[in-house]
């Protein structure tokens, strides 16, 4: 007897290991390329190694989506134990991953794949996976996830615009950052867009600004804090949020290699699903 459905996501969800184990979520790695060398995000290279390599590398890495063939292979394997799956992926405005999943799904017969363009990135995807995993059927999971997609927010404080700019996701003009001063942009990923919501001169003032912005956006169903090599600041923000929002667990996640290519080190984020 096959089980009703599996939950699939990709490495940009920054899914906490505990949730992965508890819910049996499958994670397909995106890839990061340093010159000619390709590494699977979180498989061949973890966050620590990535940021170490990034610091030592003179050229910035590039990233790429999994191939449709890789998705096809995973779906084929899941088809032996499951009736179908929900496959929740990084926003199509940011990556070709969801498109690759959709094409990959076309070559698998007798297995229903609901590919979801999450329109977002990092832990809101993990929240969506958790929501899906707690549903009884594929249909219920799909509906529950779809309903929450417009409510996802990533509020990100970058230490520098250099990486996101090189990756082509945001220009300095869009971030309202000139070419000279070392400003800290506060970006919001929402409704398929990356918008600059503020720019702040110093990091220590930018962090309370980020928290203030988040608090103006309450109430939330889930909230977490993500970071790239800034665990202490992330823990402090999370502790602060837990104090103010009793009843929410506020997990802290680490930004993976692929997303880290675009955020650069020392990025911090408050990520949430609005109620």
């Amino acid at each position: 007897m096959k089980r009703p459905f599996a939950v699939v996501t990709d490495s940009t969800a920054d899914l906490p290991d505990a949730w992965r184990a508890r819910y049996g979520i499958e994670v397909v790695p995106l890839k990061v390329l340093f010159g000619e060398e390709t590494f699977r995000d979180g498989v061949d290279m973890n966050n620590e190694e990535f940021f170490r390599t990034l610091a030592a590398s003179s050229k910035l890495p590039t990233t790429s989506a999994p191939s449709p063939g890789e998705f096809a292979e995973l779906y084929q394997r899941l088809a032996q134990d499951f009736e179908g799956c929900i496959s929740i992926h990084i926003g199509a405005q940011l990556s070709a991953t969801a498109e690759a999943a959709r094409v990959g799904a076309q070559s698998v017969d007798n297995f229903k794949v609901n590919v979801i363009d999450s329109e977002t990135v990092t832990m809101p995807m993990a929240f969506l996976c958790r929501v899906a995993a707690e549903c009884p059927t594929l249909e219920a999971a799909t509906a529950a996830v779809q309903e929450r997609i417009p409510k996802s927010r990533v509020l990100a404080l970058l230490d520098t615009l250099r990486y996101i700019e090189m990756g082509g996701r945001v220009s300095r003009a869009q971030a309202m950052i000139g070419t000279m001063l070392d400003l800290k942009p506060l970006l919001l990923v929402k409704d398929r867009e990356i918008k600059s919501v503020d720019r702040v001169r110093t990091r220590s003032r930018a962090i309370p600004r980020m928290v203030e912005f988040f608090e103006a956006d309450l109430p939330v169903e889930h909230v977490g804090v993500v970071h790239a090599q800034a665990p202490d600041e992330a823990e402090r923000i999370a502790a602060d949020l837990r104090r103010r929002l009793p009843g929410l667990d506020v997990p802290v996640g680490q930004i993976g290699c692929v997303l880290g290519t675009h955020t650069g080190p020392k990025a911090l984020g408050v990520v949430y699903l609005k109620k």
């Binding site: 070709a96 945001v170 000279m180 720019r199 220590s204």
Partner: protein, 543 residues
């Protein structure tokens, strides 16, 4: 006879054609990469397509299959496994459609080849969730159509069908900016479509050797990024340099000059009189054009623009010209090349040159305010001596002009950083004011005469330090004066010092000052900016 060289497309020929595509794309993929458009994520479209194509031919290299169907199937599978990026995924679907269309066939007639091109495009359309015109999909479809038209001609040959596909692709690529606004705004053609064009050109290069093709179907010259603005007015064959100049002489023969210049480029315009002629041409070799013109008379007002650079500039200025939702403009009074650039970079719409020793007139500021495309304007004087003149402007303009009384450049920078395009003028003024007031300014210069001020005896030439316009310290050395000023402010309550380096400060002086601040106040972050201001070797912002 040449035409018999390719009676049909069999396995070995298709293999060679794909390898030809690979080497042509490999030579040109950087050109494709360069067509990136913010905020479209595929900044590496060329690389993605190249990697996809490499994966497509991986297994083919080892194959000696005689049948075209077998080679096509290997390409389809390989590209699916290696597809990267949106364009790569679509490319893999093109191979898939092609492979399905040629299933079971050992060799393709020109007509069958054209059908396979069309089927390839159809498959790509079907695979995509929401097909968008003006992308690689459109280019694939137009290539297929052109191939089908060529195949229906009685003298159709395999090379002619491929040539028609390549030229159909090229025509479609040039049209992409008219179909997609984002391309139009950035002034570029679609990168994925351009990649497909290169792939077809690579096939064509494989088969066209020693093949005489009808005119109009010859292989295009090396591919290059193009901008819509130029592409639509430019005849096929060349982008290159937009070259403009005047020739001053006597008895100039316009007709003759025109004929000679036409041989060196296109979009030629030669107008004027026998004494003065205006020339405009798009050419790959501006030097030859200018040398030629120099033989006729004196060349004046020469202007040579690299068109790809021009397009880049269009792209950059487009990005910064997004109108602000709040309809509020910013004008700043500032001097020094670096400071001007900093204020511009932060979004200031107009700069009035001026400052400490060259106070701008009310008229200068009025002109700047009128030049800004907003009805509400915030003016930043950035100097105590400018504030009064600035306030006069309010009575002279019909615009709703506010003067935010910034006393120094650091206050001005802090105010501009706090400005937000989605907040009303009043809200901005409040936020900008409070940010400006948080800033402490230290200005460092040399005394121009002996004086006694603020209980301080100063000799001409001494280094003097002012905190918020007030003379506080004098000494013999920049580091000493700055560190005294920082100590007085109480470095414990600040975290960042921005040093704006003036025109007259040397590299050594800057390095020394930086090192001395760091060693005396290790808790402070120090950032150095090239201000380029006169009179003040250093201006420091402390926050």
């Amino acid at each position: 006879m040449a035409l018999d060289r390719y009676p049909g497309v069999d396995g070995p020929l298709f293999k060679r054609a794909l390898l030809g595509s690979l080497s042509w794309l490999s030579a040109n993929h950087e050109e494709v990469n360069r067509l990136n458009v913010f905020p479209v994520p595929d900044g590496d479209t060329g690389t993605n397509m190249l990697l996809t194509l490499q994966s497509a031919v991986e297994d083919i290299k080892e194959s000696n299959a005689a049948e075209v169907s077998k080679i096509a199937k290997l390409a389809s599978h390989g590209s699916l496994m290696g597809a990267r990026g949106n364009s790569g995924v679509i490319l893999s679907q093109i191979f898939r459609g092609f492979a399905r269309a040629v299933e079971g066939k050992s060799s393709l007639t020109p007509a069958e080849l054209a059908t396979a091109f069309e089927e390839a495009a159809n498959a790509a359309y079907r695979a995509v969730n929401k097909p968008t015109e003006g992308t690689i999909l459109t280019v694939a479809r137009e290539a297929g159509r052109a191939a089908a038209a060529a195949a229906s001609s009685p003298d159709a040959t395999v090379p002619r069908v491929i040539a028609a596909a390549a030229s159909g692709a090229r025509a479609a690529v040039l049209k992409t900016p008219s179909q997609l606004q984002i391309l139009r705004e950035a002034g570029v053609v679609d990168a994925g479509g351009f990649g497909l064009q290169i792939i077809l050109e690579g096939m064509l290069k494989t088969v066209e050797e020693s093949e005489s093709l009808p005119s109009g179907l010859t292989a295009p010259r090396p591919a290059a990024p193009v901008a819509s603005q130029v592409a639509v007015t430019l005849p096929e064959g060349g982008w290159g340099y937009c070259t403009e100049f005047l020739i001053e002489g006597s008895g100039l023969d316009l007709e003759r000059i025109k004929n000679q210049i036409e041989a060196l480029g296109n979009s030629v315009l030669v107008v004027g009189e026998p004494e003065l002629v205006k020339v405009h041409v798009h050419t790959d070799d501006p030097t030859r054009v200018i040398t030629l013109a120099g033989g006729y008379g004196k060349v004046l007002k020469l202007n040579v623009g690299d068109m790809s650079t021009q397009h880049k500039r269009i792209l950059e200025s487009e990005a910064s010209r997004v109108p602000r939702p709040n309809g509020v403009g910013l004008v700043a009074v500032v001097a020094g090349s670096g400071l001007v650039e900093i204020f511009r970079g932060l979004g200031v719409d107009a700069i009035v040159e001026g400052g400490q020793t060259m106070n701008p007139s009310t008229q200068d500021m009025l002109t700047a305010i009128e030049s800004v495309p907003y009805d509400e304007v915030i003016l930043l004087p950035n100097n105590r001596n400018v504030i009064l003149a600035a306030k006069q402007v309010r009575g002279l303009t019909k615009k709703n002009a506010h003067v935010l009384e910034t006393h120094s450049v650091p206050q001005g920078v802090a105010a501009v950083v706090a400005f937000r395009g989605d907040r009303s003028g009043a809200e901005n003024l409040e936020a900008m004011k409070s940010e400006a007031e948080r800033i402490q300014t230290i200005e460092v210069t040399h005394a121009v005469r002996d004086t006694r001020s603020n209980g301080l005896k100063v000799k001409k030439g001494d280094v003097i330090g002012l905190i918020n316009d007030k003379l506080e310290f004098a000494g013999s050395d920049y580091g000493e004066v700055v560190n005294k000023a920082l100590s007085k402010l109480g470095p414990g309550s600040y975290e960042l010092v921005t040093v704006y380096r003036g025109k007259d400060a040397s590299d050594d002086e800057l390095a020394k000052l930086e090192a001395e601040i760091r060693s005396t106040h290790p808790g402070l972050e120090v950032e150095v900016q090239q201000g380029g201001q006169q009179h003040y070797p250093f201006i420091l912002s402390v926050e």
